[in-house]
Amino acid sequence: MNVDEEEEALERGGYSRIYQIMHMLIGGGIIAGVFLTVIYLLDFPWVILLVLLKGLNCLGLIFYPEVAAVSVILTFAIAYMPSGLCGGLYTGYRIKENLRIILLIPALLGFLFAILILSWFFPRYRLLINLNPTTDVLIPLVGIIIGSYLGGYSMNWGVEAEEAEEVEGETTIRMLGFEEAEAEIEEAERLERLRGIGPARAERLRDAGVKTISDLAEAEVEDLYEKTGIPRAVLLRAIEEAKELKGLKGEGQPTEGD
């Protein structure tokens, strides 16, 4: 690799890294945005919980401590996972490689952004020690990570298989081409193409070990006459024609001029 190529590769690598970091940051931003919108602006999990309790004629349970667990489950399903999914979809759409590691970064960034934004508005989040490690940190983080991976992989799901299918398709086409070529060669070597050689005489020649026009071009008239019983004149004319087709006429044999 010369200096120019190295520089080009470095440039390409640098751009790629910046490109990836940029899209991971945007992915994280999307996660934080959806997370905050769904939970704090729309209060969506609470609305769904109310609808669920009203639907089951259990509105009175809303402040029961056990229902807090249902609220956490709903928030996981309706807010944490979908926000991760949105960020993952974007990141997966933009970045196709190393998804196993790449998708974790926007998830973590998204959660961090959300906490930072929340700490601006809600004093409870200012000191992270005030947060409940399970419900405020672990569960949201797990939900966002799961969503991010599902989103990221769904964008690229089947792409490898489709590419493989395309490659397989090309190979098949190539294989078909080879077979066609082979068939053409076979056709070109068919003894029946020669004047005076019909299917019966061709069969007798094949029995005598002359399977193709090339074989016939190298055969001796007398030898073949003895083996097949085909008239010498016919054999001579067929051998001459075979030599002409194979371009052997004149090679190693004296020409009329000689």
């Binding site: 669920l52 309790l53 009203k54 089951l56 004629n57 259990c58 509105l59 009175g60 349970l61 809303i62 402040f63 029961y64 056990e66 229902v67 667990a69 249902v70 489950i73 709903l74 996981f76 399903a77 309706i78 996972m81 999914l85 799961i146 969503g147 991976y149 599902l150 989103g151 992989y153 769904s154 799901w157 089947g158 490898e160 298989a161 489709e162």
Partner: protein, 227 residues
Amino acid sequence: MRARLFGMKLPVAIFVLILAALLGVSCILVEYISMKYSKGNYFRLETRFVDLEFPRNWIAVTGKKENSSGVIISVACVSSGQDAGVFFIVYDENMTRIYLEKVRNWASLRGYRVNDTSAAILFEAERLFNYHKNRTKVNDGNVTLLLLDNGMIKVSNYEANYLTIMIMGLRIERGGGSEICNGTWRFISWIYDKKLSFVVLYGIGEYWNQPEIWEIFNHILNSTRYK
């Protein structure tokens, strides 16, 4: 890596399945909790000082105020539109003593010669009226206090004092706007095991006189057990 489930890409299908499973689990949990606390059309609610039953479609909120002096337990049961409700407040022994001292001072300043529970009722009624007066004053409104009736009543086998008041000209927030209406409150108070107990029934506008609401009030009061 091209597996599909229900015509969806596998990760999307997994996401949908997790979502559906969690919603299903939530429903099952709610049903389980509902079965655990259900008693006909009512739910049971147990607190430190009081157990009660309230309608399934009402909302119950418990509160606990605790400091070095003692504990105050409160339970609010309100209809989903907050047009009617019942509040329970129970003071522990020490808190009862402190609270009653304050109430006695307040009553003596006004020259009221009433027993402790009646003084407590008057004290709370005035506090409520002042709250609404200040709230309405901000909006250039006027509220009027009417004393409807008072006397003795039996609640959960306890003889209690009660006072019914109406505050006219209340500003109530409803459906994004505010409207002026009347509200009726009944304060009931008694002392058991040296603990002061309050029950406050309220109804906004016509809700106070609705038979269904009174059926609920009576069920709540009759099902309440003090510990």
